[in-house]
Amino acid sequence: MGKDVVADLKRDYISKLLAKGARADGRQLDELRPLTIETNFIGSAEGSARVTLGETQVVVGVKLILGAPFPDTPNTGVLTTNAELIPMASDTFESGPPDQESIEVARVIDRGIREGHAVDMTKLCIEPGKEVWIMFVDVHVLDYDGNLFDAANIAANAAFKTAIVPAKRAGKGEDYPLPVLHQPISITVVKIDGKILLDPTHDEERVADARLTVATIETGNLCAMQKGLAGAFTLEEVSKVVDMSKRIGAEIRSKL
């Protein structure tokens, strides 16, 4: 299911345009698509955001539930990230348990949040070794036109910003805002015909040789990276993307 019947011609078209430094939607190679962020979209979630990046639309919900900590980290809350690539969003998504795509997306977003210390997990401890808050970050894709990594990452950051820990309902004191420490922002590029394109559309992803996602925090330090697809990057290209990530990351952060 979900073969794009005219993909070959599109590949040709995208290549020809790239040879002139242009993209099918008229963007520059290092330009983001229009971005909208709506927070507190879901009342039943402790934190939420709806993000549109071009025609990609995702909703991220943050839920906090009481639970036991991991034995090796008795003083910190637990973070779990999940991504649902539901068939509603694209005819290239299938029903059923998460496939490799959705698992990779979830883990990469998780890595950015975790290693970037988006949330101070030590402040989510109720009783060391016994009870902590389990923070679920659920990514729900509604409409898919490429670059789920960044759309979901932005939505997660936006959701954290306005999330409330529901201590009262759990009988653990007063509600308090989710303790946000950093804002790890990722940018994703694809490589087509030796050129680097930021924020790929679905068409661009389908003809890309390689993909790279790089996440940075406010200080400019890197916190997560993931290379995808079967092609390769040169050292120079990786360096270029890292620089881009700091610059564009700051731009995105200012919109949160």
Binding site: M1, A45, E55, P87, D91, S95, D138, H140, L142
Partner: protein, 260 residues
């Protein structure tokens, strides 16, 4: 369905419900058609505190292939609740309740779609509950009907859906979450207004015949109101600001055979 905690007044001295509604009053309902880009048709519904998205793909090749019907299209519906849609996070993936709702929703929609026009294909309907507050199957079916029409799937009519129930010994319309949890009966109804047909009907709880009749009638009357909101959403999709119902599409015979 159980007794309410003693301090919860589902109906007060003035006959008003916990959210201030009268027994025969529906929660506010808003519908937008054509909200997604990839799907062939889509609709977004906000009903009280419910937020539901529906999308339609098809008619298209039927998957799984062994379910293909040589004479008609299959209407395959998948109802799903997002994990963050409820207060206690729900594990992702379908559970027995979503399978049941998927089935009865498919059946309701199959009744109105001209499935015989598209043998061997599947019309896939996806319903995602993003925020739940009781009545999600009704909101889902309501949204799905609009999404099907938005996708250009030929249908006899839309299906409108609403539930009635019993709360504190009173028949009421469109249960909210507390009413659903602590009420005495729930009757979701799916209705085809033009033909006056009931295509979805469930009931659970404790009702006399009279109570059920009253509830069913309340639900059907509400479905007629829901229907008008559905139709309005579809028409609004194509009316440019100020252009009312006029559009500039050339008529069919002008251009059918021209291609080059």
């Amino acid at each position: 369905m159980g007794g309410a905690p003693t301090d919860l007044k589902l109906i007060d001295e003035n006959g008003l419900r916990i959210d201030g509604r009268r027994p025969d009053e529906m929660r506010p309902l808003k519908i937008e058609a054509g909200v997604l880009k990839r799907a062939d048709g889509s609709a977004y519904v906000e009903w009280g505190l419910n937020k539901v998205m529906a999308a339609v793909y098809g008619p298209r090749e039927c998957h799984p292939r062994h379910l293909q019907n040589p004479d008609r299209a299959l209407v395959q519906c998948r109802y799903n609740m997002a994990s963050f849609s409820v207060d206690d996070r729900k594990r992702p993936g379908p559970d027995r309740r979503s399978h049941e709702i998927s089935k009865i929703t498919s059946e309701a929609l199959t009744h109105v779609v001209f499935t015989e026009y598209f043998p061997r294909t599947s019309i896939d309907v996806y319903i995602e509950v993003l925020q739940a507050n009781a009545g999600t199957r009704c909101a889902g079916l309501t949204a799905a009907s609009v999404a099907l029409a938005d996708a250009g799937v030929p249908m006899r009519d839309l299906v409108a859906s609403c539930a009635a129930g019993k709360v504190a010994d009173t028949m009421v319309l469109d249960l909210g979450k507390e009413e659903d949890n602590f009420g005495q009966a729930d009757i979701p109804v799916g209705y085809v207004p033009r033909a006056g047909e009931i295509v979805l009907l469930q009931m659970d709880g404790d009702l006399t015949n009279e109570e059920f009749d009253k509830g069913l009638h309340m639900a059907v009357e509400a479905c007629k109101k829901v229907y008008e909101i559905q139709r309005d959403a579809l028409r609004r999709r194509y009316t440019a600001k100020g252009a009312a119902t006029e559009t500039a599409m050339p008529s069919e015979t002008d251009v059918r055979k021209e291609a080059v």
